[in-house]
Each structure stands twice: as structure tokens, then as C-alpha cells.
């Protein structure tokens, strides 16, 4: 029997390492795997008996003796309560995994396990049997497009860098996953680092680069650790370095840790940061393919893009292109989070609908409140309302809603989320993250944030919506880079689909979702109140009065709207409106 514990960052945070230690005490030595993507069920213990898999979920330390007994005696009754339900198994069964194919299955710290899964065979076949042009042609056939957000055809970028004159070229991986709500790149690096390395080496061969660089977020220490370890192992095996697989192709590797700046997801800003400067975007053209890192021809793709490459080489461009829609080929990974029942990583072929992801795989809402919207593309994207739930996952179709495919963050919201608050949240983010180079972005986002703050405080004025829209278009036109050009999207989409909510804030001074604390009032329903005094005792400002077994009353003048009484009441007697 082989025992595997998922140990991505989420798994460890949920207690996976403690479970492993507890199992060790029972003399069971479980091996480490990355993240299977069923984050809502962590910690997960997989028990392989030959090929038969028993998956245990939400395991805690105290379950270790029962698991040990099952392993030693085969008595399944001991662990029956931990076995994953059929319904939860569907979360994975309904997916098609290419980029994530090894995640949560192999040990990311052992190159042998990657090699066992046909690892590095794609690289070998490229180096020994294909010309760089042929490799680019396969990627062209596959229709692979940049998974970081822009969706630009990968082959086109590779070809441009290939065509660029110069001996010294750089192949760069953007692992600065800054989009709040997206974590697939972290999962790939933590769970299957060799897949990234192989994809990058193939890319380096295709464009003719001798240097590969990974720019990874400093906030992902585990990913950096596993990637470093993987690079060392690959080096020992001669997969990185000089004369790889005995050919005349040589490539070295370098990891650079980012220092926390969202704008560094923009490729020229990333290059500035790699060179040790402030991460401020450069004017384009020249594009990085002509003049990038150290002004040499450079090609930048993101982690998920590279994670598809080895599979495409091994299975052919046609197999990849057979999945998806006319304009969007292959699969895409989504990080599904928020108010959804089953949150985690979902990889599905393009062409499925948002409904497939959120309801069929994600299981719908976790509370009884109805689905309201899904936020896609992070600060550059937008909110897609419930009425468009059947939108097809395709670069164009998603773009038409005003949101974007983005890097694949999907934050699901129910009726308790305020859409004006959501727009404010993102503007707060972009205003802080604006590098300050362009006036429109630097000052425009700030002004928009101030207006949104006013509106959520009940100080909105007639004409604010129109002014917001005007500013949005001005910033879109006036900003140099993608950050500024897309920063207005969260505001534009929420105005487009939830204008009534803006109007309720501005005209009626009400927050329909009940989230903006300045616009809500708490009161006590006298019929439901049992007079237990719990709220009165817990009110930090003594705004609640009443006697035992008699309905209590909130003094609105004293109330600071902290919500304590609302969350503490056992009889749902406190009303928020």
C-alpha cells in the first residue's frame, strides 16, 4: 500500500503536516504529494492498494489511529466516515486535466516520479527529433494561448523571439501570480515543478534561448523551495545545463523572487523588476521579443501556459486543439472560490459554461442565498451576473460580457455581497498597486476610489454614476499598460449589470446586500426575541436595553453597527436592514 498526503500550501494550512506526523507516530510513513485541487476537503489522505484508490477527506490528527488500523487490518468500517463521497468525487471526475495532470498524484520533490509519468520525454523528442521551427509549428497547431490573462497565441510570441536577431536570448516564466483569487500557478509549481521546467526548456529550445528565468512571488515560499529542489535534481540528471540529452542545446536556469507588486505581472514591468529596478512598465514597441531582459530578445509566458507544453508535444497539437471552441483551444484551469460549496482548482475544456463550473462541478452556493455574480479576471476583470450564467468559457465570449478570462480566478458571490463594495474593493487594490507612471491611472483610480467610498458611505450624489463612467473611459484611453487599461473593468461591469444597486446607495442611501455598514440599521424583532440578554451583555457600547425574558431594544443613536448582536443572537431576532 502507498499512502499519500496532499501537501500544497492550502493542505498544510488545513493541517496536512500534522496528520502526516500523527500517522508517523502510528508507524505509517506517508509520502508527500502536491495539491489535488479539492481544497475544500483538505487535508486529504490517499491510500493506494495496487491501483485501487481510497481517498480520505477532512482528516484530522485524531483520525490517525483509525487510519492505521485500516491499513494494518483492512477493516474499512474504521474509516468509512472519512471516505470521500460519490458526490465529492464528481468534482474531479468531471474535469479534464492537462496542466494539472500530475498535481496531487506524484511527489513534487522526486524527479523519478515525474519521469515515471513520461516526464522529460517531450523535451527529449524535441531536442533529438524536431527543429525549433517544428516545435513552434506544433504549438501553433495546438492553438495554445497565453493563460496569464491576455490570451495571446503562444506560438506567435515564440516565433517572434525566434526570428529576433541575436545570440543571447531569454526565456522567462511569469510566476508572479498577483491576481487575488487565483492560485493555479502556485499549485502547479508546488505540485509538479518538473512539468513547468520541461515546458520552459522546450520553449527555450524553440526560441533559441540559453537562459531561462522564473520570476516567482515571494509570497509563495513553498513553491520557491520545491522549484529550487526540482532544478537541482534536473541539473544532477543533466536535464539543465550544457549539452542536454547529449545534444548541442544548453540552457541554464535562474529563480528570481518578486517583492510584491501586482504591476510586475505586466511583462515589461516584470523585466524592469528582474533587472533590480522599480517595476514600472516600459513603452511598447519595442516588444520584449525584440528588446527585453537586458535589452535582449526575450519571451515571457506564464506558468499554466508552460504546464501545457510537454503534454502537447507528447500528444500532438491536434489532440489539444480538438478540445475547446473555434477561438479558444484546449483546457483552462480555474480557481473557484468565494461563496461556492466546493472550492478548489477546476480544469475543464474551453467551451463549457460558467454554469458547468459553478453549479455542476462547484456544487452551487454554500449558503441558502441565491447566486448573484461571479468575478473573473481579478482587478482587470469584471463581475458576470447570474443572468449570464450560461456564458461559454471562451476568450471572446467572456470578453463580450465586459469581464475577461484572466488567469482563471473565479470568485463566486451570493446575494449577501454588495456590488458597489466589490468595485470599491478592486479600486482600492488598483489604486494601491498603480506604479504611478501614468497620470490617468495614478490619479484616476484614486478619484474613482474616493467616489466609491463616498457612495458606500451614503454620501453619493446625483451624477456620480455618469462621472464614474467618464473616468473609466479616460483611464482606459490614457494608461500605458494593462493594469491601468483594465482597472476600470470592475466598475464598468458592476454599473452595467447592477446599476440599480448603485442607485439604491446614491438615492435611497440603502445597501440592498446589507454589507455597507454605514447604510444598514440593526433592530430587534420583538416577536422572535426571547429576552436572553446575550446581545445586551455583548454589545460593546451598551446600546441594547431590556430585561430578562422581555424583548430587547437597540438604541440607534448609540449603535456603532459592529454587527456583534446580529452574529451572536441564537434566535435570529436581530434584523439587519
Amino acid at each position: 500500500m502507498r499512502i499519500v498526503i496532499g501537501q500544497g500550501s492550502c493542505g498544510i494550512a488545513a493541517g496536512a503536516e500534522k496528520v502526516r506526523q500523527a500517522l508517523l507516530k502510528e508507524n505509517i510513513n506517508a509520502s508527500v504529494a502536491g495539491c489535488i485541487g479539492m481544497c475544500y476537503l483538505e487535508p486529504i489522505v490517499d491510500i493506494y492498494d495496487e491501483d485501487k484508490l481510497t481517498r480520505l477527506v477532512k482528516v484530522s490528527e485524531s483520525d490517525a489511529p483509525a487510519i492505521a488500523e485500516y491499513i494494518n487490518t483492512g477493516d474499512r468500517s474504521k474509516i468509512e466516515n472519512l471516505v470521500v463521497s460519490d458526490e465529492d468525487s464528481e468534482f474531479l471526475n468531471k474535469q479534464t486535466r492537462i496542466a494539472l495532470r500530475n498535481c496531487g498524484i506524484i511527489n513534487p520533490e522526486k524527479i523519478e516520479e515525474y519521469i515515471e509519468k513520461d516526464g522529460y520525454t517531450a523535451l527529449k523528442s524535441c531536442l533529438t527529433e524536431k527543429t525549433p521551427e517544428e516545435v513552434i509549428e506544433i504549438i501553433k497547431t495546438s492553438g495554445l494561448a497565453g493563460r496569464g490573462g491576455a490570451g495571446f497565441p503562444t506560438w506567435f510570441k515564440w516565433n517572434a523571439a525566434r526570428q529576433s536577431e541575436g545570440e543571447e536570448k531569454y526565456l522567462i516564466c511569469n510566476a508572479d501570480e498577483g491576481d487575488p483569487g487565483a492560485f493555479m500557478d502556485r499549485a502547479v509549481i508546488e505540485s509538479d515543478p518538473h512539468n513547468l521546467i520541461e515546458g520552459m526548456l522546450i520553449g527555450a529550445y524553440a526560441i533559441g534561448a540559453k537562459h531561462a528565468v522564473v520570476y516567482v512571488r515571494a509570497e509563495y515560499p513553498l513553491a520557491i523551495k520545491r522549484l529550487k529542489n526540482a532544478l537541482e535534481q534536473a541539473r544532477e540528471k543533466g536535464i539543465i545545463g550544457n549539452n542536454i540529452f547529449g545534444t548541442d542545446f544548453s540552457c541554464d536556469f535562474m529563480i528570481k523572487a518578486g517583492a510584491g507588486a501586482f504591476v510586475c505581472g505586466e511583462e515589461t514591468a516584470l523585466i524592469e523588476s528582474l533587472e533590480g529596478h522599480r517595476g514600472m512598465p516600459r513603452l511598447k514597441p519595442p516588444f520584449p521579443a525584440q528588446s527585453g531582459f537586458w535589452r535582449k530578445p526575450s519571451n515571457i509566458n506564464n506558468v499554466e501556459t508552460f504546464a501545457n507544453v510537454a503534454w502537447i508535444i507528447n500528444n500532438g497539437g491536434e489532440a489539444f486543439a480538438a478540445m475547446g471552441t473555434e477561438g479558444s483551444k484546449g483546457t483552462k484551469v480555474f480557481a473557484v472560490t468565494g461563496k461556492v460549496k466546493r472550492s478548489g482548482l477546476v480544469e475543464i475544456p474551453m467551451g463549457k459554461t460558467l454554469r458547468d463550473v459553478i453549479f455542476d462541478i462547484g456544487g452551487g452556493m454554500k449558503s441558502d442565498k441565491p447566486f448573484k455574480a461571479v468575478q473573473m479576471g481579478g482587478p482587470s476583470g469584471g463581475c458576470i451576473p447570474a443572468s449570464l450564467i450560461d456564458t461559454v468559457i471562451d476568450y471572446k465570449a467572456l470578453g463580450a460580457t465586459g469581464a475577461i478570462m484572466g488567469s482563471g480566478g473565479m470568485v463566486v458571490m451570493d446575494e449577501s455581497t454588495c456590488m458597489v463594495g466589490m468595485a470599491k474593493f478592486f479600486l482600492d487594490f488598483t489604486a494601491k498597486e498603480s506604479c504611478g507612471k501614468c497620470v490617468h491611472c495614478r490619479i484616476g483610480t484614486k478619484r474613482m476610489l474616493e467616489m466609491l467610498e463616498r457612495i458606500t458611505k451614503g454620501e453619493g450624489k446625483e451624477g456620480d454614476i455618469e462621472l464614474l463612467e467618464e473616468l473609466c473611459y479616460a483611464i482606459k484611453d490614457g494608461a500605458l499598460c494593462g493594469l491601468g487599461q483594465t482597472a476600470p473593468n470592475p466598475v464598468l461591469t458592476t454599473i452595467k449589470y447592477f446599476r440599480d444597486e448603485y442607485e439604491a446607495h446614491i438615492k435611497d442611501k440603502k445597501c440592498p446586500a446589507g454589507e455597507c455598514s454605514d447604510l444598514i440599521e440593526y433592530s430587534i424583532n420583538a416577536e422572535k426575541c426571547k429576552g436572553c440578554t446575550l446581545c445586551a451583555r455583548n454589545c460593546p457600547v451598551e446600546a441594547i436595553s431590556g430585561t430578562v425574558k422581555n424583548p430587547h431594544v437597540i438604541n440607534i443613536d448609540k449603535c456603532i453597527k459592529c454587527g456583534k448582536c446580529y452574529s451572536i443572537c441564537r434566535f435570529d431576532a436581530v434584523v439587519k436592514a
Binding site: 501570480e177 509570497e219 480557481a335 468575478q375 480566478g409 487594490f429 498597486e433
Partner: protein, 158 residues
């Protein structure tokens, strides 16, 4: 507090990177690992060894959220401000921490025990709301759970 900055701790880092072009951010990261922040004396030494003006070093240092110019407490609380955390109530957690510790974002408690920093997405969205305290991640936070964690940390420090 600056009397005890031991600049010799930096020599290894500077020997390795001072002459390598494009290494300023790497040097600053190592410096912060050593001292917990970027002391003024260290910045001056880096400038001397790399030939990069202190103004430029400050420009880079202040650009990135990772760098700090003040010492931090024993426990650095990094509260995630990602979208999923926002939707799942990180605001309430922030308020709880502020109330419990009496500090704002970017401040340190008087006893030097806790520093609070609101950070961009930590990538543990399924466990939202999330915070990291030094290297440890705490997920599915509620106000009560947060108070309990802070209490335990405070007790552990004594």
C-alpha cells in the same frame, strides 16, 4: 535601536551579489531576512558596495510591498486582502485584530509582540479568510477563532 546593527552580517550577501548586475532586489531581500527590516545603516553600506545611490535603493525599496523600514514585532501578522477573503469577511477579521491589539495596518504593538500588515492574496483562497503569522497559515478565520489564536500566541511568547 540602531546601535546594535551588526553590519558584518551583510558581508556574505554583498560578496556574493554586489558585483552581479540586477541584484538589488535580491540583496534587499537577504538584508531583510537578516535584520527583519531594512536598517538605514545597511542601505548605506549596500550603496557603498554596489555603487547604487541610496535614493535609488530607497526608490526600489519603497516600491515593493515586501520591504519594511521599521523593525517588526515577534509575530508578523499578514492578513490576506484577496478577493475570496474579502467576500468571506476579512474586514471583520481586520477589525477584530485591530480591537484586540490596538494597532492599525502597518503598526506594531508597544510590547513589540505583534505587527499587523494587510497583504495581497496569499493564494489560500479556499481557506478564506486567511492570515499568516510568520511562517504559519491560519484559515477559515472567525472573530472568535482569531482572538483565540492571538491569545495563544501571546501566551506562547511569555
Amino acid at each position: 535601536m540602531n546601535d546594535n546593527i551588526d553590519l558584518s552580517l551583510l558581508s556574505g550577501v554583498l560578496d556574493e551579489y554586489a558585483a552581479v548586475k540586477g541584484s538589488l532586489i535580491t540583496i534587499l531581500q537577504h538584508t531583510q531576512d537578516i535584520y527583519g527590516y531594512l536598517p538605514k545603516e545597511a542601505i548605506e553600506l549596500i550603496s557603498e558596495r554596489t555603487g547604487i545611490a541610496t535614493s535609488e535603493i530607497m526608490g526600489v525599496g519603497t516600491f515593493y510591498t515586501q520591504f519594511r523600514f521599521e523593525p517588526v514585532g515577534k509575530y508578523l501578522i499578514m492578513l490576506c486582502q484577496g478577493t475570496a477573503c474579502h467576500v468571506n469577511g476579512s474586514e471583520l477579521i481586520l477589525q477584530t485584530i485591530k480591537d484586540e491589539l490596538g494597532i492599525d495596518d502597518g503598526q506594531t504593538t508597544e510590547d513589540g509582540l505583534f505587527s499587523l500588515k494587510c497583504v495581497a492574496c496569499l493564494g489560500c483562497c479556499s481557506l478564506s479568510p486567511v492570515m499568516m503569522v510568520n511562517e504559519d497559515t491560519y484559515g477559515s478565520l472567525t472573530p472568535d477563532k482569531t482572538k483565540k489564536i492571538l491569545k495563544e500566541l501571546r501566551e506562547a511568547a511569555v
